[in-house]
Subunit: 429 residues, 2 copies
């Protein structure tokens, strides 16, 4: 079921393109039409439309969207101490990693010139947390903690309710643990529209973060500009680069951990060894049968996954940079020496005991990572996504006087005499 | 012509909303339709469509889009030494400011755990430079220099040709001065599509930056996701906060320097003093008549500009943060003491001798700034726009062993047993 394909530097691009073609979204006109209608309705009818769409899409009748303190406390009480301790340990690791991303304002003095960069937190953030089968408390931690470190004042969570009209208690507990300020029961494009434009209940936010299905992704793209967004997330991916020092069972387990996410997930192994490839394939088949989500994993493995036997290591590294995988595992003899050559990857897991789930929950780096090749230009979610900067400029009269002729001349070369005049007027006799 | 409006903390929001309503783009369905057709044609017909659209929109017949070395050299030779020296001085200041934004990779060692963040330049960047009346060599400097500092390998410039089929020599000279790698004669949505998807001549890039008209802005939004973009730029804005220590002629000149950009530009003055407001209004009327672009400035001043007489300084500062202006000038007795209170602004100019044109060309900070209130969530263009990050994670067997139970339990709480298995398989007897 898991394809094995032999490639060299001349033909790998064709094979990769064929395998990864599902990463290119093309037929989304219908989805976009629905998303646009939903957004217009939320802007026009506010809370009423939000409740109506929750009934239409989530099959739940609600009479209000706000999650009250009482419901949060009930969830907290219902969750085991063991789970709360794990949340706490994960939170500490995530906090400690992200704290290192904090950026200070800076200022630079040069005679009578002062230049600087002022860092300010974004005031309000909306955080989308999926519900249903993909209801992950880790999503709450990974989105909320960098926002808190940045100093965001108002952190709003939206998440679709379950069939019983309630929010998953693990999600509510994680939200309580990290100090989310407001929680609303709303999902899909309607919740994104509510965050961007506001309703009677929900005050609009400045930026929306968090993963979601295709409707959420398209709605985020649609409202981008009115608010900022973190990224447009696609299906999850792993790429493993392994030599014969790797354990085939480890590689197989890691390919499957990605594949169980959804049918569109992609798991790719790059190796130089025929024998290793065959062993991993056998281990995947053997491990898959006992998984709870074997059906999902099986489809992802069959349709979007492959083992590539690559001619040489240089080509394998070229392939990694071409794939620009969300998760990259390097299971080779000395994985650190590969690091300088890796240009495009969301997160890089080094060695035989750094599997991808370690990063999903616990190690500290963010699990919201660029997918579908966007690691060529995007970064993991981090503190910098929750701040913005302002330039600061001060010149004294003497300092401006020294450069006034140059600025006036530049302005006139651009045909802007009012710009030149703004300098000139300051030195009129 | 320049309105004077008295406001207090209870009614300023209504007045601001009325004034700034042109910042909200609504009726763009026709433009989006054109942009989508152009993008599809470029993807289908490549260079041929690019040349056809250059004829349709720019009224120029070209037989190829690439600007050859010879044309660049001719432009360089045609430009005065004086202008080249100014470019050089501006370049030095811009380089020196942006160098301070450079971010290093970091790594953190903790017993047998290694965590880090690897910084890599984005490999290829497309830079849009407007042509025609808004052909500004400063745009080239402001976009190219942070890319160069980041370490971008391939910096591609597109710019629409003039009626003579040539590119403005100041733009070409600025491009030569900063080391742009490839230059193409193409503008509008067609050039954005070519950068995102490629043609026979133009290899696609990873990210597109630079300002442009509404077609360029909408095309950038459309291709966002396939490539990254810097921001969606709107009309230019200035907000001046001035007390009676300010010179009315300076304030008027600065309001006009913004207004001459285009009819949609917005110039706003906030002051507590009736008398100062009247003096600025009179100075605007007096200075406007002698400007080359008086007609444009007059429209911007009449339609999108105002002087607000504000009840107290606290309200004035609230208004600044609500406007989130692209450019903010603080011309008060002690402008530095205002800085902690300013949350939302692209660039902050302090004091009586730091007019906005100083930042446009010369001081060093970037002139590509968030417009239309997006300073609430966006930053000036900078080196960080040309890099991306990868998380780096290494755990030894012993380190993973210590936390394996917690990770497995977390995974099972999320219903993902293949994730748990990826840990478990590493510790099988």
């Amino acid at each position: 079921m898991l394809r094995i394909i032999s490639v060299n530097k001349d033909n790998y691009k064709i094979h990769l393109k064929e395998l990864l073609k599902q990463r290119v979204e093309e037929n989304i006109a219908d989805i976009d039409e629905t998303v646009e209608r939903v957004i217009l309705d939320i802007r026009k009818y506010g809370d009423k439309a939000l409740l109506d769409y929750t009934y239409t899409f989530d099959k739940v009748v609600l009479n209000k969207v706000k999650v009250e303190e009482k419901e949060i406390q009930e969830a907290w009480d219902a969750v085991s101490k063991e789970f709360k301790d794990i949340i706490d340990a994960a939170k500490n690791n995530i906090w400690s990693y992200h704290e290192k991303q904090f950026q200070n304002s800076w200022i630079d003095y040069n005679e009578d010139i002062i230049l600087g960069q002022k860092v300010t937190p974004i005031e309000s953030i909306g955080m989308y947390v999926p519900g249903g089968k993909a209801a992950y408390p880790s999503t709450v931690l990974m989105n909320a903690i960098p926002a808190k470190i940045a100093g965001v004042q108002r952190l709003v969570m939206v998440t679709p309710p379950g069939k019983d009209g309630k929010v998953n208690p693990y999600i509510l507990s994680a939200a309580k643990a990290v100090g989310v300020d407001e929680i609303y029961k709303a999902g899909g494009a309607q919740s994104i529209a509510a965050l961007a434009y506001g309703t009677e209940t929900i005050v609009p936010v400045n930026k929306i973060v968090g993963p979601g299905n295709i409707y959420v992704a398209r709605a985020k793209k649609k409202v981008y500009g009115v608010v900022d967004i973190d990224m447009i997330a696609g299906p999850s991916e792993i790429c493993i680069l392994a030599d014969e020092t790797a354990n085939p069972a480890f590689a197989a387990a890691d390919l499957l951990s990605q594949a169980e996410h959804d049918e569109m997930a992609s798991s790719i192994l790059l190796t130089l060894s025929d024998g290793f490839a065959e062993k991993v394939k056998a281990a995947v088949n053997q491990q898959m049968v006992s998984l709870d989500r074997a059906q999902i994993a099986e489809q992802a493995i069959r349709n979007n996954s492959a083992i590539f036997i690559v001619e040489d290591m240089a080509t394998a590294i070229e392939m990694v940079n071409d794939i620009a995988p969300e998760h990259l595992e390097i299971m080779t003899d000395n994985p650190f020496e590969m690091l300088p050559k890796i240009k495009n990857a969301g997160a890089i897991f080094l060695g035989h005991f750094s599997p991808e789930p370690l990063g999903d929950y616990f190690a500290g780096p963010n699990h919201t990572l660029p997918t579908s090749g966007t690691a060529k230009f995007s970064s993991p979610l981090g503190v910098e996504d929750f701040i913005k900067k302002s330039s600061v400029i001060y010149y004294s009269k003497a300092a401006l006087g020294k450069v006034k002729n140059q600025i006036e001349s530049f302005a006139l070369h651009e045909g802007l005499d009012a710009h030149a005049n703004s300098i000139k007027v300051r030195f009129l006799p």
